[in-house]
Amino acid sequence: MKNHTLVLILLLATTACASAENYSEDPIRTLLPFDAIPAITEPQFVSAGVAKLAPDAPVIGVTFNDESHAYSLYLLNGHEIVNDVVGGQNIATTW
């Protein structure tokens, strides 16, 4: 896989953080195998002018350094993660 990677809008950072989470004691249950919900690793885009989206369709919107991307939530239902680059930032948009 070439570019890639992760997954909400997140960037890899190495800082540990004070943890208040007790979810870490919850068991990890495997419900689906890897890639049963395939993440998007090479996203394609169209311009706003030609996009066929209903006016009230819900989207996630991201903007960095004057570059903006919109992702239909109903499309993301089937993929959950878009590995993307927006305004020079490597991001994972997750739903």
Binding site: E21, F45, S47, A57, V59, G61, E67, S72, Y74, L75
Partner: protein, 215 residues
Amino acid sequence: MYDHQTRSLWSHITGKAIQGPLKGKQLKTLVSMPQIAWKTWQLNYPETEVLSLPTVGGTREGINRDNYADYHASQRAGVSGTEYTDDRLPNKSLVIGVQVQTKDGKRQFRAYPITHFTETAVINDTLGKVPLLIFHDKSSFATAVFKRNVAEDVRTFRAQDGHFVVDNTGTLWNLVTGEATSGTDKGKRLERLPAVNIYWFAWARYYPRTTIYRP
């Protein structure tokens, strides 16, 4: 979620790796518009590009059906069988989840039930001594969280129309872009913080110390 390189497992709520070689590593949560009506996003960002998936005979940007509509309408909380027991709110209450880092390096968490935004689009609050502006427009479903200061000057906001709000100096702000659109502050931007629309059961499980906003 998992990463292809190490197959570590990550929580997409916290951004932290919970299993595998990268366990304990933390992704940085960036600012975004977690949900907004397409027409409102396009109005504010006309140059935006739109995710489009390859399909038979071309690409498609939209599906007009929410495959999770039944889940959202139901009382079911998650899919893992985990029991969620923080009954301060009903499990499926939709909240805006906010966290701030205080000066002593600790984090504070607060949930803003979406039902508070039926009468007004803005809540002026302070969390961990950080003055906050919580915004949710019920018509476009836009959600945003900002620090409500301009340099050192803390402002108080009230709803005006849709995603436009006014502060106590009379300045008009667009809270989709975070930018002042009139007055001497025109062109200035409020500092945006990460915001999520999330069901209470998930927010409370990951951040059990969270408080709940009460008017």
